[in-house]
């Protein structure tokens, strides 16, 4: 099947139009506005004006739509980050993300991919001290909030995966191979109580800024998992979370060795029994999707 090609003049028009759309909205007046004075003359000239609306103002409709549509999508994908930062600041982060990683492909939700990386790439001062802040939330909790939002989104969007229930025949391999986390599961460690806060933001239509809670005295770990169309949270003991994390990279025997080396001597005696219970619970909860991908020279994976 041979597809016909676009004429050169259309490609030029689309390049100009696209560049206009992707020009950031002006924030200097305290609201987001399309600065039509910066529009390329050739494109403005190509568009029809009417008695009441200039051609530049007509192009501005699309210009605003581009940004506001994507801001709205990102606010929906990162509701915790948006409401901690406040929408004015969040939109500034979103604009930086979209300039760095413009949308590609047909999937609108994909515009949220790597937003947490874009946020981490911003100079910390710009994350912490962006204009319009009523809350003064600093960079570190916002980055953590973005990672929590991203984990919720990843789990929500994951494909179906059959839970892995190892049989007796898998026992030997379990000792020699790591495990693959189910795509419908995520492990999250937090320094502020953000996972429960994120789970409570069921109503995405509220827009008021929320205050950052006090940090935990020590980091907490959560297992995020999907059942049907809902995402649930399960608190994990730190050592349990550490074991689940290690099991993704190391065979069981080595993972247990690392864990044992990490715990104080007083905890070591109880560790084997606890580790067995944590492992059994993880299998029961459907945390695993199979054996980890085989490394070079190792046996093939499930």
């Amino acid at each position: 099947m041979t597809w016909p090609s676009s004429p050169e003049w259309l490609l030029e028009l689309q390049a100009r139009f696209g560049a206009l759309l992707r020009t950031p909205l002006d924030r200097s007046t305290g609201s987001l506005r399309a600065d039509t004075s910066a529009y390329e003359a050739a494109l403005v000239e190509a568009a029809e004006a009417s008695a009441t609306v200039t051609s530049a103002d007509r192009l501005a409709v699309y210009h605003r739509q581009y940004w506001f549509r994507l801001f709205t999508v990102l606010q929906g994908l990162y509701p915790l980050t948006a409401r901690l930062a406040g929408y004015w600041r969040f939109n500034e982060f979103a604009a930086a993300h979209l300039r760095q990683r413009p949308p590609r492909g047909f999937d609108l939700d994909a515009v949220g991919e790597q937003f947490e990386l874009s946020l981490a790439e911003l100079p910390p001062a710009s994350v912490a001290l962006a204009s319009g802040s009523a809350v003064g939330v600093a960079a570190q909790p916002l980055l953590e909030a973005a990672r929590v939002d991203a984990a919720f989104h990843r789990v929500t969007r994951a494909p179906h995966a059959e839970p892995f229930h190892p049989s007796m025949a898998d026992a030997a391999r379990l000792l020699a191979s790591g495990l693959r986390l189910s795509p419908a599961v995520a492990l999250v460690q937090e320094n502020w109580p953000l996972c429960e806060l994120r789970a409570a933001l069921a109503d995405r239509h509220q827009h008021d800024t929320i205050r950052l809670p006090e940090p935990w005295p020590a980091p907490r770990c959560w297992l995020l998992g999907r059942r049907g169309s809902k995402v649930g949270l399960l608190a994990l003991e730190p050592r349990e979370a550490q074991l689940l994390d290690l099991l993704q990279r190391l065979p069981l025997e080595q993972a247990l060795g690392h864990l044992e080396a990490a715990v104080p001597p007083a905890e070591r005696a109880a560790l084997p029994e606890k580790a067995q219970a944590w492992l059994a619970r993880s299998v029961r909860l459907g945390v695993w999707a199979g054996f980890a991908e085989a490394r070079e020279g190792a046996a093939d994976s499930r």
């Binding site: 099947m1 597809w3 016909p4 090609s5 676009s6 004429p7 259309l10 490609l11 028009l13 689309q14 390049a15 139009f17 696209g18 759309l21 992707r22 000239e45 190509a46 568009a47 029809e48 009417s50 009441t52 609306v53 051609s55 103002d57 007509r58 192009l59 409709v61 699309y62 739509q65 581009y66 549509r69 994507l70 413009p102 949308p103 590609r104 492909g105 047909f106 999937d107 609108l108 515009v111 929500t156 969007r157 994951a158 494909p159 179906h160 419908a184 999907r226 049907g228 169309s229």
Partner: protein
């Protein structure tokens, strides 16, 4: 052979907001339309809701990401996935827009206009013909709401639209609200537009609400009830030849029962 819809069928665009209300009770609708791109990934969540709906209603597919007039032709990978989804739900037809949505590797996620010239009739028709062939089922092209027209245009929008559909041997997915919005924005007669449409080739009609900006430009917002002038055009069109009618509501979405009641008005208008 895909199932077909009755010409008088009334349907609703399925949105995430509706999921929690489905089954409490199931609404009195003849069918649902889904946005294809919302179900093209292998994410389990959307598929769960889709499965519930398709057990009870016919489903048609409406795309926003085909990019028919983009610099690159529609990708085979994308079309394969749309075709598989259409097969899964046994869609009577698939539709998308006569527009471009992205260029040079960037998706703008908007329905963008082109100049209406014969050269682009050929381009759009040839591509639409390929799309219909690839999908293996009827394919409808939707007219846009537009806010910009180009001085380079040498044809009216309706002549351009009709010529593409006729040359591609595909169908109209006619949006009556879009006709009204564009007619106000570009000062043409919506009746002239309707007069150019061969209603025997209309797969489905969309109706929706719009908003007037302070500048006077009408925006296709889908966030309020269908406006009276749009209902008048709808009546005029339905009298030409009946067609399945689909209500789109994408923002400020009211409870499902209230949304469905808008379709009761469609029955009254065309009686």
């Amino acid at each position: 052979m895909p199932q077909s819809l009755a010409r008088e069928a009334l349907g609703l665009g399925l949105r995430t907001r509706h999921y929690r209300e489905l089954g409490e009770p199931w609404p009195a609708l003849d069918y649902f339309e889904i946005i294809s791109e919302n179900f093209l990934s292998d994410a389990e969540g959307p598929r769960y809701h889709l499965d519930r709906v398709r057990e009870r209603y016919p489903i048609v597919l409406h795309g926003v990401g085909l990019n028919l007039l983009g610099p690159e032709p529609p990708s085979s990978r994308y079309l394969d996935r749309v075709a598989a989804l259409a097969e899964l739900v046994d869609a009577p037809f698939v539709s998308d827009h006569l527009c471009w949505t992205g260029a040079h590797g960037v998706s703008h996620h908007d329905l963008l206009p082109v100049p209406h010239v014969p050269e682009l009739v050929e381009l759009a028709a040839e591509r639409a013909r390929h799309v219909q062939q690839h999908l293996g089922r009827p394919f409808g092209l939707e007219n846009l709401s537009s806010y910009v027209a180009f001085k380079a245009s040498t044809m009216s929008e309706w002549d351009f639209y009709a010529a593409v559909v006729e040359r591609a041997a595909c169908s109209f997915m006619l949006d009556i609200n879009n006709i009204y919005v564009s007619s106000q924005n570009h000062r043409f007669s919506p009746s002239d537009y309707l007069a150019r449409i061969d209603f025997s080739r209309v797969l489905q009609v969309h109706i929706a609400g719009h908003t007037r900006e302070p500048s006077g430009i009408l925006i296709d917002t889908h966030d309020q009830p269908v406006a009276d002038p749009v209902w008048q055009l709808y009546r005029q069109a339905f009298r030409e030849h009946p067609f399945p009618t689909l209500l789109e509501w994408d923002d400020q979405i009211p409870p499902l029962a209230a949304t469905v009641s808008q379709l009761e008005r469609a029955k009254a208008v065309r009686a």
